[in-house]
Amino acid sequence: MEKLKINTVLAAALVLTLGFAGQAQAQYQSDFQVKQNFDRDHAEVLEELKTVNTVEDADALLEEVNEMQMQYSDHESFLDRVLYPETFDQRMTNLRELAEVTSVRLARIGEQGDTVVVLEERIAELTDDATRYQERADSLSRELAAMRRSRDANAAQARRLRQEVNERDEFIIKMVDSIFVAYENVDLESLSPAEVSELAMEIDAQNVLGYIESVVDNNISFLDTHTELSTRDFLNLYSVQVEFERMWENMGRELADIYVSETNREERLSGIVEKIDQWEMLIDDAAWTTLADAFEQNDIDLAPFSSSMEFYTSLNNYLDDAIARAEESGGDEEMADYQQFSDFWFNDVKPRWQEYLISANLMTYENFNTIDEKLTEWRLYAQPTSYTTLIFLGLAVIIALVLLGLWLKERGTKNNSNR
């Protein structure tokens, strides 16, 4: 019993000693140090809140904020004075609210199948590439400008530049496509205006509309500068323009809704549309001119055309006339015309241009099939009757006459025996 008393007294003494020691420790704390520690802890929580990416971590931070409030509550009056015009309580309330909002936001992102997170990651992934391509585009623009001044610029050089510009254009179209697809998966309406703005700001660093506009500008500049390219090159450029316009029609308006402030949205949109129209006009002119030249150089006299419909009509009329002519008077001359057209069609047009004519929506596979069928028909009518055929025909007539003679003879024999 006495031993128990001694132990109790010793324990009490220990508790008192520790208590006093703790108090002494608290007494001998520098206010300056308290403020430094508070600032450091506050900054640490804020920093962690910026990078936290799970609900559990956000909740743990909220708990940390509560502990921090308790830890510094003894210094509340002092902190109120040194944090003026803020107060200790305001600072802690702000941190707590921020932690709560972060936790809710992360929970919502989880519910949305992490689409926002995926989008952010995709954006980050594309940023480096976009910067790299932008730098290359700037250097290409300088080269293009230098070539415009130089009369010695040759087609090969232009083609090389064109290839590089193409790579960049394709990348940008893919990038915008990819970002947009990612956006389509995000339920933007479920995000707060601040969150939408945050996403827009992230992507704005890449200046999506700026990139889009630069694709158009570069192509206009290129077409203004280079007229020496081949028909295939121009048709290729045409298909790029068509693909670009398709992308713009699909998502231009929505991209502007996200990235351009309402005040100058319409102006920005109409500016880009105007440039795309100019680009289309330039490539349209260049493509039809070069295509007409190519047919002319191959002595194929098509009626003038300046649109896909006119081109197809012109081809059909040419072939219909040729077939009618061959049907009426086929022969060597008609066959030579056929051969001329056929060589050009099967050696140049189809293997080298068909792909681009179709991707640029200038012709369809059905159009090509129709032309092929008409060419077969033309060949049939155009080719002159050969000697071999005549010999075979003569032999067939002789055989028929022999068979007829044999049959008549046999019939005469039968009649005589019946009598």
């Binding site: 002494a24 007494q27 001998y28 704390q29 520098s30 206010d31 300056f32 140090q33 403020k35 002092f78 004075r81 040194v82």
Partner: protein, 158 residues
């Protein structure tokens, strides 16, 4: 007639003299207004590093001064400046200044564009290792590790 004239002259002079005397008294006394219950206490000490010329400035309070003379007093001529100094203003408006390595706390009262030494309080013969002031009105608390000193403008309070 002359008597009358002198008398008028004297009266006029006396009048002017009285007016001048009143003016002198009025100017000498000036407007008199005193605000009371002023508390100059700085809630937290300032910790500032001197530049190469010995100038220190606390952007938070806006106070700046030169510590060269103080350092000469504490360490002698050609002594290097401390890494930082710490100061705090008491409720009465006195500045308490010290630095790591100093043996004393210097108490200054503010004057027109100057700080006048009021008292030197010796606290540690060996020099303070890691001093820190706390405002504990009406006293100033000086901590150095586990050692605590209570200071007033006139010296140690304990």
């Amino acid at each position: 007639m002359l008597k009358t004239m002198i008398s008028k002259k004297h009266l006029s002079f006396l009048g002017k003299l009285s007016a001048a005397t009143l003016l002198v008294f009025t100017v000498a006394c000036g407007p008199s207004l005193t605000l009371t219950d002023v508390d100059y206490a700085q809630p937290m000490e300032s910790v500032v590093s001197p530049d190469q010329n010995g100038n220190v400035e606390d952007p938070r309070t806006g106070v700046s001064f030169n510590i060269t003379a103080l350092n000469v007093e504490e360490r002698g001529e050609d002594a290097s400046l401390p890494d930082h100094i710490r100061f705090i203003r008491s409720r009465e408006g006195y500045y308490f200044v010290t630095a790591p390595g100093y043996s004393n706390v210097y108490v200054f009262e503010s004057a027109e564009r100057s700080l006048e030494l009021y008292e030197i309080i010796e606290v540690s013969e060996a020099g303070l290792a890691d001093p820190a002031f706390n405002q504990r009105s009406p006293q100033i608390q000086l901590l150095d590790g586990d050692t605590e000193y209570r200071l007033t403008k006139d010296g140690l309070a304990n």
